[in-house]
Amino acid sequence: MRIPCPYCGSRDVSEFSYLGDAAPQRPDPSGDASSVEAAFFDYVYLRDNPAGPHRGLWYHGAGCRNWLVVRRNPSTHEILEVALAAKEPAA
């Protein structure tokens, strides 16, 4: 598999490390303890497992050393979109 890095161009997957799903956002730790705990349980442990396009965080450690958000289809290995994580709009 090759990933088209927005800065470096097309590179072998061995140059990248996979972190995981790009969707989870750290919950606000203030507020009611039990709802915060539930939100953090969800944030830390629960992941969707879609049989289709999925956004994941990849680190281009052997290249430009940037975090990327890669939208890909794990069923077909097709890569649909790659963006620098720093350029992604805040959710």
């Binding site: 800065y7 161009g9 590179r11 061995s14 052997a62 290249g63 430009c64 940037n66």
Partner: protein, 193 residues
């Protein structure tokens, strides 16, 4: 304080095979620094570099050179600056010129630079690099790996390439280079000065 004696990182570089399919020439005594733009200061940084060195920085994996200084794009908002005149305190001067605009970190002792040229060069590079190095010419630059060793490679504009690897990994890099280039012959040229 005791003055450390200069030792070339390439002192183990030796010819291999017969012929000169690839010619390797050490690039010694350079002032090298990484330049990392501070948040939102890229435009001011570009203007400061233009004023100081007459170089139009571009935020892409490209080599831009002036008289004795080269800037290589190594990541978004990051460059590797190389000077042929380190005796003038290049890195310290650069850090002062870019104060507040970029973080400048001295890499002069950490990186070893080698110039490669020759008719068999492309076929030898293909044995280690996982990118199409031929597509880098005439002014491209890439941070990648060769033989599992992190390397920065750039086209020098004369048909050749220069490679920067961590000084501590020169032994492994030379193992790859000598083995890969031996078939067509690896020749060694003197330091480019």
């Amino acid at each position: 304080m005791a003055e450390l004696m200069y030792q070339s990182p390439w002192r183990a570089l030796a010819p291999r095979g017969s012929g000169a399919g690839v010619t390797a020439a050490p690039i010694e005594r350079r002032g090298i620094a990484t330049v990392m733009a501070r948040k939102g200061r890229i435009a001011e940084l570009g203007a400061a570099v233009q004023r100081a060195y007459g170089i139009a920085l571009c935020d892409r994996p490209k080599r831009v050179s002036a008289a004795s200084v080269t800037f290589l794009g190594i990541g978004p908002g990051r460059w590797l600056a190389i000077s042929q005149r380190p005796e003038l305190g290049f890195v310290a001067v650069l850090a002062a010129q870019l104060d507040g605009l970029a973080s400048v970190v001295d890499q002069s002792d950490g990186l070893a630079l080698l110039q490669l040229s020759g008719p068999a060069l492309q076929s030898v590079l293909e044995k280690g690099f996982q990118i199409d190095c031929a597509a880098l010419a005439p002014d491209g630059c890439a941070v990648t790996s060769v033989h599992h060793i992190g390397a920065t490679i750039w086209a020098t504009g004369d048909g050749g390439f220069a490679v920067a690897v961590a000084r501590s990994l020169v032994g492994g890099f030379l193992h790859w280079l000598e083995t890969s280039a031996a078939a067509g012959g690896l020749a060694v040229a003197p330091d480019r000065g």
